[in-house]
Symmetry: C2
DNA sequence: TTCAGATGTGACCATTGGAAACATGCCGGC
DNA sequence: GCCGGCATGTTTCCAATGGTCACATCTGAA
């Protein structure tokens, strides 16, 4: 007998606290633009005492690791969906790049946590490590596809790195507002700018 | 009568506390890889009570802003020095990119602070804003030079953004150890990888 | 020499992450 | 049906942190 939350409203047991905490944390970070969120605020948002969180996570870091892991899983989906929009290896890579940056701008809280240094070494969070590699693998596959069909040339690893660096950098510069002053690029135009940049890089990868 | 620190060793007045705090903070962040350094630790490193820091900085953020501002100034120097190593506009831009990533890897503490979201809006730290724009201006000038001499083509802003995104992303991925597992790239090879990536992007910018 | 301003100290405060002891409610075995 | 164990949540507590304040110490200029 689950799912009878409608009635009481204030129940002693939340029912789905782990999930609720992860989502609240993500939203808080998206708002503040900073990892340093008080765990107590997250708990309060969910309507629970801060100590309750420790029934579901060993530490605040573990909660953040969960946010990050889900983020990488969503990123994998976004990359795949993006690639599916493109026709031909080159266009598929470009659209995946656009999907990447769009994801970062749509879920900034998750994206910041995903690449936050304090969550390394990944070894402490196996699910996070796995999710991270899975996302990277999508990019790798797209590059391999391009190389196999002679759409690009050169070394695979180098192409993957260049692509990843470009989209990662573009996403973070937009997220941090670094491009809003000098270039007038905010979150709305970020993905568009990424397409332009990625097309240029792709020209270089072709030969 | 300054500069007589040799004698007493433990003096009530430090003599150059502001500067010492900035440098200690940078080193601590470089070690931990995280902005969240206890101000007390920094003060202890310098041999001073934590409250003393507030004689020189309004807040911990203001101290970090100073670290960041100095970082951007050093980055400007690194970019200029890098560009000077290149012959011709294209090579100059590549070498500036290498200089950029090298700087980030050599001064990781400063680099992390420089792009940390909590220091925005820049408006609160005018010196930081100015230093940041000065560094960007070096990149802009290099791109303009390339366009003027027909070494590259296309729109200037787009080329600057793509370049900046590439080096920023490459620097952060290496710093965060994201490339060490999948690609075996650590700080030592980071700049080399940046050269490879930048050359590829440049091929795309040429046409 | 003196004293006013600059610089450093120790005591204090509210907030934070985390641990511990206690409270509550859900579920399966009788 | 009921009852006891286990998961989940609360209250209370602690040490560390950023920050403030009153007080101590030093420095240099009048």
């Amino acid at each position: 007998m689950k799912e009878r939350l409608k009635k009481g409203g204030d129940r002693y047991h939340h029912g789905n606290l782990r999930d609720a905490l992860v989502r609240a944390a993500e939203q808080q970070i998206a708002r503040s633009g900073d990892i340093a969120l008080p765990l107590r605020d997250v708990a309060r948002l969910v309507g629970v005492s801060h100590a309750a969180a420790y029934r579901h996570f060993d530490s605040k870091q573990a909660l953040l690791a969960e946010v990050a892991a889900r983020g990488f899983e969503a990123l994998t989906v976004a990359l795949t969906a993006g690639a599916a929009r493109g026709r031909g290896p080159a266009e598929r890579l470009v659209e995946a790049a656009v999907g990447y940056v769009s994801f970062a701008l749509e879920q900034p809280g998750a994206y910041r946590v995903m690449f936050h240094a304090t969550l390394k070494p990944f070894t402490r969070f196996p699910r996070l490590a796995e999710a991270s590699l899975a996302a990277l693998e999508v990019l790798r596959a797209l590059v391999r596809e391009g190389l196999a069909t002679k759409a690009f040339s050169g070394e695979a690893d180098a192409a993957v790195m260049a692509t990843w660096a470009l989209v990662h950098g573009q996403a973070l510069l937009v997220l941090d507002g670094q491009l809003s002053g000098p270039f007038g690029i905010d979150a709305a135009q970020g993905a568009l700018a990424a397409r332009t940049s990625m097309k240029r890089l792709l020209e270089g990868l072709r030969r």
